[in-house]
């Protein structure tokens, strides 16, 4: 079989690229709608539209340094403990702030259900932060933006 001409290869590459882009757009749309659903659900539970949602795994929440930082997060955030409701209720008392259980998470068995992270709403897009400890330690500084402009709870 002879080699395909360059034009045919370019057209084939274009078709494959179009399919790859459609797959990417479909996944991005699905993720966006799930993150939006997370904010809708947290707004219903918290009674206000949160600026950010902090999702914490039980093992991360048990870490004393990390737990200490959670207590100081802005009241405009909502905290979700990816564990059972009774554990969320316990943590709510310990952290002295409303905490929801994993039933609020709209994701299937994916990384957004199984890891700790922060979702920040920036207008019509969402930004995920996974480096939580350094980020939480910086709250209240001129940067990062979230947490810098809003009043902190009295501790």
């Amino acid at each position: 079989m002879g080699r395909l001409p360059n034009e045919a290869i370019a057209i084939l590459a274009g078709v494959i690229a179009a399919l790859a882009w459609l797959s990417y757009r479909r996944s991005a749309k699905a993720r966006y709608s799930l993150l939006r659903e997370l904010f809708v659900r947290t707004a219903a539970v918290a009674g206000f539209e949160p600026e950010a949602v902090l999702v914490v795994q039980p093992q991360a929440g048990a870490d004393s340094e990390f737990a200490g930082q959670i207590q100081g997060t802005p009241r405009s955030w909502h905290v979700v403990l990816a564990g059972p409701a009774w554990l969320a209720a316990m943590k709510s008392a310990a952290w002295r702030r409303p905490v929801s259980g994993m039933e609020i998470l709209p994701f299937g068995k994916g990384a957004l259900r199984e890891r700790s992270y922060l979702v920040i709403r920036r207008g019509r897009r969402f930004e995920l932060v996974h480096e939580l400890l350094p980020y939480l330690k910086r709250l209240g500084a001129p940067w990062p933006e979230v947490g810098g402009r809003i009043p902190f709870p009295s501790r």
Partner: protein, 185 residues
């Protein structure tokens, strides 16, 4: 078929995908990138934003150089090896100083391609493979690409980057696990 040409193109392709995916993933999560630079610790706080933009610009430049194929021969490969060695050193240092414990997810993966990216696993082994690929690409020689050949090559790079990103998002939402509903009640 000239196997040296084919191997050289494959090396360029692999490295173009790697650097484009890395830069694309980082560009989507600039906050995470700054925090990761903070966690690695070699840069003063006030220089973090500049460091983040420098890393990003460097990776986009390398991605473009490799995607262009046949250009900057003998320059882009050592540059890529230097960048990869630097990143490997930082990853190793962070792992030695506590590794994944700094990340709240507790995983040993890095955020080099953005969190949850398929290429983010096993950073040290992965970078060693990329360095070997860059070294092989440095040795092998290839002809300059034609106009249509160049277009096909760039589209193939973009396809791989989009598919990897799609895979990452499917992994995040749980969509990739067959049988799971996307939205749980």
């Amino acid at each position: 078929m000239n196997w040296e040409f084919e191997a050289a193109w494959l090396c360029d392709y692999a490295l173009a995908v790697v650097f484009a995916a890395s830069a694309g993933g980082k560009a989507q999560a600039m906050t995470d990138l700054r925090m990761e630079i903070r966690a690695y610790g070699p840069v003063p706080v006030r220089l973090e934003p500049a460091a983040a933009w420098t890393v990003l610009a460097m990776e986009w430049a390398l991605a473009a150089a490799f995607a262009a194929g046949g250009t900057l021969e003998g320059v882009k490969e050592p540059a890529a090896i230097a960048v990869l060695l630097g990143m490997t050193g930082l990853s190793w240092r962070r792992r030695r100083d506590g590794g994944g414990r700094n990340r709240a997810d507790g995983t040993g993966s890095c955020g080099c391609f953005g969190a949850n990216h398929p290429l983010s696993r096993r950073p040290l082994l992965r970078n060693a493979v990329f360095i070997a690929v860059a070294a092989a690409g440095w040795i092998a020689e290839r002809p300059a690409p034609s106009g249509t050949g160049f277009a096909a090559f760039a589209l193939a790079v973009a396809s791989a980057v989009w598919l990897l990103e799609a895979r990452k998002m499917q992994k995040e939402t749980g969509e990739w696990r067959a049988g799971d509903g996307q939205v749980t009640e």
